[in-house]
Amino acid sequence: MTVSKKESTMDRVNKGLAKRYRREKWFRLSGLGAIILSIGFLALLFLSIISNGWTAFQQTEMLLDIHFDAQEFDVDNLSAANYGVLVKDGMRTLFPEVKERRNKRKLYKLVSSGASYILQDMVEQDTTIIGSTQKIWLPADDEVDMFMKGNISREVAENNRRLSDKQISWIDRLAADGRLKKRFNTVFFTAGDSREPELAGIRGAVAGSLFTLAVTLLLSFPMGVATAVYLEEFAPKNRWTDLVEVNINNLAAVPSIVFGLLGLAVFLNFFGLPRSAPLVGGLVLTLMTLPTIIIASRASLKSVPPSIREAALGVGASKMQTITHHILPLAMPGMMTGTIIGMAQALGETAPLLMIGMVAFIVDVPGGVTDPATVLPVQIYLWADSPERAFMERTSAAIMVLLAFLIFMNGIAVFLRRKFERRW
């Protein structure tokens, strides 16, 4: 009797086994699927940005014969000359058959409005070119650029695209003459913001980001480390320090936009600091990164084993000596890692900066922490909202630059962790 019962249990187990193994397999596969899915999202994100943005590193240029007519220039006041007319003359000599006013306007639109600034710079640098005719590569308008990169299709009906049939025929002729060429887009790295995509660059935003981050780093690192050391090593353990600990942990999770509100209320309205300045941006981001740094620093102080402390105290070191000679050097890599991660967060942050006016249109590259500036992520936000198709690829390109910075910073953090991580 007992034998048959045993067999039946075994039978039931054996019968169920196939199903259970199948379930096991499915479960395992779904776990793998989840990982593949999330890495797939990451890949999709990067792919869509890179495929949109890589073309922005090239810019179409146009070869024009510019005649620097001596009559146009007054040697004492070079900036008074009408450089736009020189560009227009250059275009007209290429297409002498265009007569009607409407068509002329369409023709002039093919070349960037920034061409005149380039001519002005050339003349100011070398006045001897006045009176001569020069062959000069000038940036083409963003619509031409988009057409050359294949983002404007000929197949679309004429009134649904930004270039008319006539303009396209002119572009074709220029291209056939070898007067259109794609070149590396240096303007993108050397210019500030602009209303014209072909003149817009990220230098102003990068400089703004650097100033903002410098303020953040200078304030948050010393203050964060000092606070962590005090709380971890000196402060008495009581209700008050418990409260402080809870407070810091919660601040780390407060939505960043709330810090923007604080910045607006306190730094701008109460202290009257200038709007749109990296100084204020840095202060706001300091408040945001301080908890991150404090928490990371405390964790890395905690991870130093007590035996080190005891040994140091045992050979007669004072508490401060124990900390500065033994604990801080051991905890420093962890603190640095936390700081770099905090800085990377601050570099990517947008929302609080919208609140303190860093969204203005600013062309000049800032020269100090009180000059008006934007930062890289805000520039991305501004460009993402711009209607011109050419700004879309520039947005993606700016994102690529931002991501490169972030990956670099996180790479350093990972390197530090790998190199100095110790298991006790």
């Binding site: 900036s79 009408n82 736009g84 306007r105 639109k109 409005s113 600034y117 002005q120 009134n159 649904n160 695209r161 930004r162 500030g192 602009s194 209303r195 014209e196 410098a214 303020v215 200078l218 009257g272 200038p274 749109s276 100084l279 006016g357 969204v359 203005a360 249109f361 600013i362 062309v363 000049d364 020269g367 100090g368 922490v369 009180t370 000059d371 008006p372 909202d385 711009s386 209607p387 011109e388």
Partner: protein, 352 residues
């Protein structure tokens, strides 16, 4: 040991450089501009031109809406307040009074050109043909009872077809500017009030109870059919392109720049084109302005030069670069008048 010293020196040098950067003595040396999002594309273009061709810094421009800009502008005449505010409508008497009260006594008014208010939708849908009355009935908060009579009911219309048989059977969904915007003010005054007057008994009210008349005609519905988008006309265009059912309200220049994505509705029998607006045929056209704080001229560097750049024929003339951006130029005499005003800094005097 050496490593330590080098890193210590490097850190202290970095700190010293950063600290001493803070104290860049000197006042504000750039022009600060706020105001209308409709004038924003023109103002930024002029600012960029000005910054690149002169020795002055490029002005800083924030898009805050005409009303918001006026509020900042009239807050006082200190250096923290903006020097110039753009407006897509004329300054209101109440704002003028507020300016006077806060010590902004001397204001120079410069009209820069004309702009049409367009109602546009995505090119993926059919073009709409609208009248002022349609607009009023579709967007007012309270409308006359559809069955007739002289009483008001909360706006019952859900689709355009409910408003007018000839319109398509799509949901009323209009993206428009908030009350901080001058486009909103101009739209309400030109389109809504215009449609309101088509209804006789309401028109009669204008003489008897002006305040009530205004509240009927100017109040926009709040049940979700009219969506207030912030001070960002680009955003409206983007959202229209993404949502073919919606209609958007913005300045002509944005239609001009985005002719491949959106189309303007035919309004009052006329299409919103450069020519129609310039000829005054298109009913929803309004002038654009900017206002200058005279007390800041000679204090903030570059003010007279910026004004002369903006009022030069190169910028706002018939073939100027602003007309490329969609600004409809003023006639020659008017241009001359305002450019003289700007040069001489003639003060604006408003009387009720």
């Amino acid at each position: 040991m050496w490593k330590k010293r080098i890193s210590f020196t490097a850190v202290s040098l970095f700190a010293i450089t950063a600290v001493s950067n803070v104290n860049a003595a000197g006042g504000r040396d750039y022009i600060s501009i706020v105001g209308s999002s409709t004038v924003y594309p023109f103002a930024t273009t002029v600012a960029e031109q000005f910054g690149k061709t002169s020795s002055f810094k490029t002005p800083k421009i924030e898009s805050t809406g005409s009303g918001g800009g006026m509020k900042l502008f009239c807050a006082g005449s200190g250096i923290k307040t903006p020097d110039i505010t753009n407006a897509s409508r004329r300054i209101k008497f109440s704002e003028y009074q507020k300016c006077q009260k806060n010590g902004v006594k001397e204001i120079v008014e410069v009209k820069i050109g004309y702009d049409g208010i367009v109602l546009a939708n995505s090119k993926k849908s059919a073009q709409m043909t609208l009248s002022k009355k349609d607009i009023f009935l579709a967007l007012a908060k309270d409308v006359p009872k559809p069955e007739g009579g002289e009483t008001l009911v909360a706006n019952p219309y859900k689709t355009w077809k409910d408003v007018n048989e000839s319109l398509p059977d799509t949901k009323i969904e209009v993206l428009g500017p908030p009350p901080t915007s001058g486009t909103r003010d101009a739209f309400v005054e030109l389109a809504m009030e215009g449609g309101c007057k088509k209804i006789d008994w309401i028109k009669a009210l204008k003489k008897t109870d002006k305040k009530y008349f205004k509240s009927i005609c100017h109040t926009v519905r709040e049940d979700g059919a009219y969506i207030e988008v912030g001070e960002n006309d680009n955003l409206i265009v983007q959202k229209l392109a993404a949502n073919p059912k919606a209609l958007g309200i913005f300045g002509f220049s944005f239609l001009d720049q985005n002719g491949d994505k959106v189309q303007g509705s035919i309004f009052g029998g006329e299409e919103p084109t450069f020519e129609n607006i310039a000829a005054g045929k298109y009913p929803l056209s309004r002038p654009l302005y900017f206002y200058v704080k005279k007390s800041h001229v000679g204090v903030v560097p570059g003010m007279p030069e910026f004004l002369s750049e903006f009022t030069s024929d190169k910028a706002w003339g018939d073939e100027g670069y602003l007309s490329d951006k969609g600004l409809i130029p003023m006639p020659e005499e008017e241009r001359k008048e305002f450019s003289n005003d700007a040069k001489a800094l003639n003060m604006l005097v408003l009387e009720k």
